[in-house]
């Protein structure tokens, strides 16, 4: 059959003919349910749905029961009449193409064929297993909303709709994946969105021709600007408040059915250093935390490389006492400083991967073993030196401060480690220059990745966060509607108002 199952069939007036075509298409699938019955007026009908995707209670109460009980003066029902006056379900669509009917049923709808009408009704009685809305594992906040996206795209859209009650809030859907037929929603605010970005997203989505879309990661990799980029150029959000905030800045959110992670486009570098909590706490603390994040990000990529550069080439910059203790520690180990750092870094990555993938109890055991083996035994056995272990520990902790760049910082850390080890500070400087040039060349859907840092605009919400009432404008690169609050929003005491 291949990936394209469509045959351009139309719905027949003969119920049996429709069912034969469906049988021919599906074969003997055990979850396919075809129920033939008679309407109250004796007219022949058949319902067709997938077991497990529908709510049998709703189906019995609002679908089959009215169909079998309602009588009518005229001799036959049409689909239109049934939909308008018999069925008690809120959402339905009438199709004349059998292919469309089958596609709808595969999405969880229930189809109804009635004899004598060359149309079919597809009614919504979807009820498949899904998680409840709960706080995601990442993006945990002390202050702010706790709800997170789940795997249902419809629920996710409704979570966003609850945040933005405005008719300009638009949801456009496309269906991608030849086999998976995954629903994908583009969500944006029409009066704010950057239309060029929206147009590009649609264009790139249209080009996708793939068997399946199983997660938002597929879409991210298939539409991003620089496929080989170390840095992500598409943002992710696990919480509706984050996605809503970005949509209200002019971005487009892409929700994928089956994925609890929404994509937000375009992404700016500075976004990775921000947290939603920054906007919920007072500005001076938010600014301080942002500075901490910048420092942590720099530590996460530079510290091992800098340590090696200092230890192997530039011992003059190490304070004398520290130099002595480092030299003492290193003289006990069989490996060179660089190799020790590589070895312990590799061990950490293995332990981390094992800890994440294993079931929770086993993962904890691995963590404990890892901590003891790496933290204590390896030092006591003089396999590695304590300073090397301390450097790795600080680096690893720092890398988790900027969650958005954990992947990028892991690879960059390794590159800078090799540069520092082989070329000292010269290597680090060279690497930094290349990285900066590369970062400045990146774009996210036509928007410079390093803005607003590169153009030094909208600095009130960059490395520092100014008071909320000072951020009157949206970033110019993201939106065509710049003003986000009126001048009167300034708190009264700031104006000297004695009211």
């Amino acid at each position: 059959m291949g990936s394209n199952w469509r045959r351009n069939y139309m719905v027949s007036r003969q119920v049996e003919e429709n069912l034969d075509k469906i049988h021919a298409l599906f074969g003997s699938s055990m979850d396919l349910v075809i129920r033939e019955f008679q309407l109250a007026n004796g007219q022949k009908a058949a319902a067709f749905y997938i077991d497990g995707l529908v709510d049998n209670d709703i189906l019995g109460r609002d679908f089959f029961s009215p169909l079998m009980k309602t009588t009518k003066n005229s001799s036959t029902y049409t689909c239109d009449e049934i939909a308008k006056s018999v069925l008690m379900m809120g959402e339905f669509t009438i199709y004349s193409s059998l292919d469309d009917v089958i596609a709808a049923v595969l999405q969880g709808l229930t189809a109804l064929f009635v004899a004598g009408d060359n149309h079919a009704i597809c009614a919504q009685a979807i009820n498949w297993p899904q998680r409840s809305v709960e706080e995601p594992a990442t993006d945990v906040v002390l202050r702010g909303p706790r709800e997170g996206f789940i795997e249902s795209m419809r629920i996710n859209v409704s979570l966003l709709r609850r945040k933005i009650h405005h008719p300009d809030f638009k949801v456009e859907t496309v269906c991608l994946g030849r086999y998976s037929q995954t629903d994908i929603a583009l969500v944006y605010v029409d009066s704010i969105v950057n239309e060029d970005v929206l147009r590009q997203i649609k264009k790139r989505l249209k080009k996708i021709d793939i068997d399946s879309i199983l997660d938002s990661g597929y879409i991210e990799q298939l539409i991003q600007d620089t496929p080989y980029s170390l840095f992500p150029t598409i943002g992710v959000a696990e919480k509706p408040d984050i996605a809503a905030a970005r949509i209200l800045e002019g971005r487009v959110a892409v929700l994928i059915d089956g994925s609890p992670i929404a994509l937000t486009i375009p992404m700016l570098f500075i976004e990775g250093l921000h947290s939603p909590e920054d906007y919920y706490t007072r500005f001076f603390y938010a600014s301080w935390v942002r500075i901490i994040r910048v420092i942590a990000f720099l530590i996460s990529i530079y510290l091992p490389g800098f340590f090696l550069a200092a230890a192997c080439y530039h011992q003059q910059i190490i304070p004398f006492k520290l130099l002595l203790s480092m030299a003492a520690a290193e003289s006990q180990t069989p490996f060179s400083t660089g190799f020790s750092l590589l070895l312990i870094g590799l061990s950490y990555e293995i332990l981390r991967e094992a800890g994440i993938r294993l079931p929770k109890p086993a993962g904890q055991a691995i963590s404990i073993v890892g901590a003891i083996v790496m933290g204590d035994a390896a030092v006591n056995a003089n396999l590695i030196s304590a300073p090397v272990l301390i450097v790795l520990a600080i680096t690893v902790v720092a890398s988790f401060v900027t969650v958005a760049y954990v992947d990028a910082s892991t690879i960059l850390r390794l590159l800078f480690l090799l540069l520092g080890w082989q070329f000292g500070l010269f290597g680090l400087l060279l690497g930094t220059m290349v990285m900066l040039i590369y970062l400045c060349s990146l774009e996210s859907f036509g928007v410079p990745f390093m803005s607003p840092l590169s153009v030094f605009t909208h600095v009130e919400d960059s490395i520092i966060r100014m008071p909320l009432w000072m951020m009157k404008l949206r970033p110019a690169v993201l939106s065509r509607n710049l003003r986000r609050m009126s001048k009167e929003t300034k708190p009264p005491h700031q104006r000297g108002d004695k009211e």
């Binding site: 230890a311 192997c312 080439y313 011992q315 003059q316 004398f320 006492k321 130099l323 002595l324 203790s325 480092m326 030299a327 003492a328 290193e330 003289s331 180990t333 060179s336 400083t337 082989q422 070329f423 000292g424 010269f426 290597g427 060279l430």
Partner: protein
């Protein structure tokens, strides 16, 4: 793909230009704290170096002293490297001490050579020992003074007047023909208690 090949080529080129030969592993460093020059009776040069003992990084650290004798400075340095089997690290050197007779005869040439070698700090203080430099470069440094204990005592003995001339200043005066060995501050070796001196010319595990 072309970009990748270019990247590899550029990386290899950079690697070949800046080789890793000057990399010094911490465990292979001999951290020099002070160096002394003495003129021996047979006309040879005795070089005394005080090295921080990296096996004792505690607050009251210790140092070890090594002496080599050779006909000139370059040979003495070569012998020292052979003796220690380590790379000498000069970044923490605190003082250059010249023996009394050495100061009278050779200090100008050596100061100029050391200055030109660029491995020493320009602000390295120069001292002249009343006796021999080996008496002052005598090991066991304290917490606050990372120089030999004997030198520390010598300095603190008359701290108010202790303003040693720096290597760069001395060379500047030398080039202007205004230098004199009298300008190098003299410290009294008689008042120094010698601690932990090592056996001369004996190769020891460092």
């Amino acid at each position: 793909m072309k970009k990748l090949v270019m990247l590899v080529l550029v990386t290899m080129l950079v690697c070949s230009f800046s080789t890793c030969t000057d990399r010094q592993e911490l465990s292979e460093l001999a951290i020099v704290l002070g160096m002394g020059f003495d003129h021996m009776e047979d006309g040879s040069l005795q070089l005394s170096v005080e090295l921080a003992d990296r096996k004792m990084p505690q607050e009251t650290g210790e140092s070890k002293v090594f002496h080599v004798t050779a006909k000139d400075f370059t040979t003495a340095m070569d012998e020292l490297v052979l003796l220690l089997d380590k790379q000498l690290f000069w970044g923490n050197m605190m003082v250059l001490v010249f023996g009394d007779s050495f100061t009278q005869e050779q200090v100008d040439d050596v100061a100029l050579a050391l200055y030109k070698s660029n491995i020493f700090s320009d602000e390295l203080p120069l001292l002249c020992a009343e006796g021999t430099a080996a008496d002052i470069i005598n090991g066991s440094f304290g917490e606050s003074e990372y120089v030999s204990k004997g030198l520390s005592e010598a300095i603190s003995h008359d701290e108010a007047q202790f303003e040693p001339i720096l290597l760069a200043h001395y060379v500047e005066r030398l080039l202007a023909n205004q230098a004199s060995c009298q300008q190098i501050v003299r410290v009294d070796a008689e008042k120094i208690v010698s601690l932990g001196e090592m056996n001369i010319h004996e190769k020891q595990a460092y």
